[in-house]
Symmetry: C2
Subunit: 471 residues, 2 copies
């Protein structure tokens, strides 16, 4: 979009948001739901009709709690806030962003109280991204993770030189990187008849419909991992979007269910599959052929090690490796809970951020630009969003354990270039359900167990102890 188009687009999206809110909160819909709830009493819980009424009721009840004025104010504050954040980040000037963030936070707290909660206002916001999840459960889960990840990271840091990522930094022609990512995302299962990939400043995935899913990626000529793993990550999101039930495209059952479930798909493909030995058994010759002479001296083991190097210190969240990434999330989760609870003030946020960075990651950010201003989320009003990244990461390992249980030779198949078993499993257990079940319910139905950290901790500890020679 040209710079000068921002204002009109903000007005347009504001108008559409209002229209959607008005439709969703119309008294006719409320009356219809009352009537239908009596009708579906005898129907099975999983049936289309019962599910549609149940899920629509949930959307309706949440929407009617939000006054149109608040919805509009939030839309306006975040449109301005994002613009202010962008400029503030460029100048590394938190003070220029502070009044905007203060206003957004104020409206978020208002929103939390409008939505209602049991004991923690943060829950109301978290629930909009991860229905059914409570912050006490997140805290308990994160504490368990922390107690095992922090010592693991310490052990890794002591042996930082054991893994060498230099092969990925040999300079890689961007057009060939493009071809490689196209080959990889198509091979792992992203359907190019119903989706496409383009280049942009930031990687993202967006499903306009299951039949039209757009991915973007970006390339760093100095680092092969950036474009390749960015594309695989977005393709993971994209396959979920392509697998959503097309017959429900016009109702709420056709939606993805939560950000955590979404992230479980992107992380699974990016990290568990994409950074595995079988993946490289299949793809290494192809990647070598795409960059003649660049990687001829590297074998599967060398590639596997290079793509799993743990960075230290890990300054920017989106560039963090899969182990330290979670620490970035813990930090943001704790800070935003404090902000929502009013236990820290916006003006004290940079200091709080730096303090927590020292505690969690062991360094002080060089500037607010690479510190408290590094993420777009708060400027966009996305409080309660960050924890879903780690929830998805944890879930990805739990799902993959189930895939391996049900398809014992899945990794042999991957090594031969056949990735279809994973997508089929996800299609049957996750994708096709859309938003029919709440996330925690979907996880139990898909895996037979509640969300739990053990599979992830097992995965991450086994992988990195072996990689770094930690006993």
């Amino acid at each position: 979009m040209p710079k000068g188009g921002i204002e009109v687009r903000a007005e347009t999206t504001g108008a559409l948001t209002r229209m959607a809110h008005e439709l969703l909160t119309s008294p006719e819909l409320g009356e219809l739901l009352d009537k239908l709830e009596r009708e579906i009493k005898e129907l099975p819980y999983e049936s289309d009709k019962a599910s549609l009424v149940r899920v629509t009721r949930r959307q309706y009840d949440n929407a009617v709690k939000l006054p149109t004025k608040l919805v509009e104010e939030l839309e306006k504050a975040t449109a301005l806030g994002q613009d202010a954040w962008e400029r503030a980040r460029e100048e590394s000037d938190f003070r220029a962003f502070e009044p905007h963030l203060a206003r957004i936070l104020e409206l978020q707290i208002e929103k939390a109280h409008a939505l209602g909660f049991e004991d923690d206002p943060y829950d109301a916001l978290l629930d909009t991204f991860e229905p059914g999840m409570r912050s006490r459960d997140v805290t308990a889960l994160f504490d368990q993770l922390k107690s095992r990840l922090v010592p693991l990271i310490q052990a890794i840091n002591e042996r930082a030189d054991a893994v060498d990522a230099a092969p990925l930094q040999r300079g890689f022609d961007v057009d060939s990187q493009w071809s490689v990512t196209m080959e990889v995302i198509e091979r792992i299962g992203f359907d190019l008849k119903h989706g496409r990939q383009d280049r942009s400043a930031h990687p993202f995935a967006m499903g306009l419909a299951p039949t039209d899913v757009r991915l973007t990626t970006r390339f760093d000529p100095e680092y092969l991992g950036s474009g390749l793993y960015g594309s695989i990550h977005e393709a993971g999101h994209g396959m979920y979007e392509q697998g959503l039930p097309l017959e429900h495209i016009d109702d709420f059952l056709g939606n993805s269910v939560s950000l955590g479930i979404h992230e479980s798909q992107s992380r699974l493909w990016e990290n568990i599959v994409g950074r595995s030995r079988p993946f490289w058994r299949y793809f290494l010759p192809k990647v070598q052929a795409a960059f003649p002479g660049k990687l001829d001296d590297i074998d599967v083991e060398g590639m596997y090690r290079a793509v799993n190097k743990v960075a230290h210190p890990s300054v920017i969240r989106v560039e963090a490796d899969e182990v330290t990434y979670n620490l970035h999330i813990f930090l943001r989760f704790e800070l935003e809970r404090e902000l929502i609870a009013g236990r820290i003030e916006v003006r004290d946020l940079p200091e709080a951020w730096n303090e927590k960075t020292r505690a969690f990651l062991g360094f002080t950010p060089a500037s607010d630009k690479v510190g408290v201003l590094q993420d777009v989320h708060w400027s966009a009003g996305l409080f309660g969003y960050f924890p879903t990244y780690t929830l998805g990461t944890v879930l990805s390992a739990q799902l993959y354990e189930c895939v391996k249980r049900d398809v014992p030779d899945v990794e042999d198949r991957i090594a031969l270039g056949d990735f279809s078993a994973i997508k089929s499993w996800m299609q049957a257990r996750i994708y096709r359900h859309g938003a029919r079940f709440e996330p925690l319910e979907l996880i139990e139905r898909a895996t037979g167990e509640p969300l739990r950290p053990e599979p992830y901790l097992r995965y991450i500890e086994e992988k990195y102890r072996e990689l770094y020679g930690i006993s």
Copy 2:
């Protein structure tokens, strides 16, 4: 868009079209217009309020004549029709497209009768693109043009070798073509803070708002003219869109007024300015610098001649030179009038097309692909659209005569790279009025005269007689 996304997009645009039609035809709007028409009786014709009521009334009256069912049927038939046309054109198989075109034509005739007309159903359709224009006036105008253009083209064809376009066919690096077009469109006045250019399969211009106007272009490495003049043409459309009154973005006054007026802007920049000597006086050194060694032996006169070569025969409309282009329009205008009047049947269209091509252009198309199937318009239901291309062409010369009258040194300024006088003139006389006046009214107000062919005929005859040495 990925191939598989077509169906859902058709449903989405169908739904939006229905919603817009329902809003526009709502009884509340009708009552409001009745009430406002009494209120504005005393207001000046040009005033915002009077104009808004008058223009809205026109939109409302036309919309209420169209039953929602017809609007939906048209939307559906053209969505399917365009897909069928694309495939039929690829295979050069008119019979595959025939039933779709027959259905679209049937609906167009229904639409013409629903809209109403005095003596010619074609007028009802023409009026949707060029309000106030009647086909008898178009016929009279086209006859005048024909009587002068046909002998001119004959004379040119007899001296076809007098002009040499070979310098444009020396092979031009596409990245450098991109840079050149960006430099040109910015210099002539397209505002890149409120617009952008991208590459696509077909050149087009689209104004999302005056603050956000998108252009696309395409490049032919074998022919420099294709991308350069495509970009200038679209930038002409784009400057008009950027100049529309922003304060009327949410009402009908903020729209462009007609396709003919739009085309007058694109043709003016593409042909009258872009294919002139002063243009090349300024741009030749820049274009030479963009393609080192390629055009060093060409002077301004050589470039001026090369970009004005008249192609013979001129097979494809969109690739035709500015002289024979009009013959393509006459041909289509006559055929679509016959179709709407029921004087020829769809099944006889290919033969009728070929016959008229022989009569107007002197050759028989090698296949339906490059004959009757070459244009998208009819598959999209755009009957009555073609004449606006020539109306715009004629008007472009009339407007430029006025610019030269008001700014006598405009061509000296162009030669120095200052194109601002033309845009300022258009801003004051055309752009800023949006849809406030009907096209014929706007032309009279802008030029002091009705639309007339003399300036165009003078321009084209003087230019091409000199170029081809015709006495």
